[in-house]
Assembly symmetry: C2
Homo-oligomer: 182 residues x 2
């Protein structure tokens, strides 16, 4: 692997309630210099959970998404709170969002969404052996929970309400994991 | 589908060279109000290209990524320039980044990366029937191009240098498309 570029300088150039933007001066091994901007959110990253009601049935949600200003079909996601492990955060999120906890939680893979200009990480967690449980989250309205079958994944990924890359990647990875569990 | 929440107000609260942050006041159908922040980049979105050297061999790149401060293994990506179609942008990007153009370019799906707080879209484009071609892009150093086989995808997705959700989702979708082309 190549020698990594040097970060000559990093400074914060904007900060809002939700976003923290940094400017970096980068020097590549060949002497080329570039100015990069990136989002560097505080915190411990987030989780995206694949909750399986049985070996074929995944529970997904419709949630209003401010970025695209529409209801998006996706998997349950959320920030990891201070002091929580990723598995604990995953269980809390499905209890709050879909009304189930999980006896079995397994780490699948840590994904990025735009590593060129964002530092955040999303841990994909598979949730199995579900039990009914609920708790109040901070959602402005109850989320609509829907069931989909992994056997229909090749069609589901073309559903126009399902656009989020992390959810699509996670569904494919979990389909393979579950196939190998049998 | 539910009635969409109302956007009561949108205003720009920060703007840097690369990022444009908006604050939205949202009212849900049940009367609940929330303040959302989102990234709303100007422009026409971006493309992510899956260039196939043959029915099994995908060309990927290692590129320094400022967000994670490491070399990431990913598919070729880039912004769509003014006046370009997504397919034209895809061809330009692979010519600049991997040294091939494509006789056959097909639209796969439009993905989002974080629809809750980002409005940007990425069009996934499959590139086939490649021909040698090169042009200078704006990269600070030549990108390292590597070949991977779709038959090894189940192992490749666990490669720790491959973390980007869009690339993983696109590889799975293209594997299925190519299987059906035979």
């Amino acid at each position: 692997m190549r020698q990594k570029p040097k970060i000559l300088n990093i400074k914060t150039i904007a900060r809002t309630r939700m976003f923290h933007i940094e400017k970096m001066d980068i020097e590549f091994h060949n002497g080329q210099r570039r100015e990069y901007e990136r989002l560097n959110p505080p915190g411990n990253g987030s989780v995206l959970v694949v909750p399986m009601l049985d070996a074929q049935t995944v529970l997904m949600i419709y949630e209003y998404s401010g970025g695209t200003d529409k209801y998006e079909l996706a998997l349950t996601k959320g920030r990891i709170d201070a002091g929580e492990t990723p598995l604990e955060a995953a269980n809390r999120e499905i209890i709050e969002e879909i009304g189930y906890g999980a006896q079995q939680l397994s780490f699948v893979k840590t994904l990025t969404i735009a590593p060129g200009y964002q530092s955040n990480f999303t841990h994909i967690i598979l949730a199995q052996d579900l039990y009914s449980a609920s708790a109040k989250g901070d959602e402005p309205e109850p989320l609509k929970v829907v069931e989909h079958k992994l056997s229909t994944l090749e069609t589901l990924v073309y559903n126009e309400d399902l656009t989020e890359a992390r959810s699509i990647a996670a569904l494919y990875m979990v389909r393979e994991i579950i196939k190998n569990q049998r």
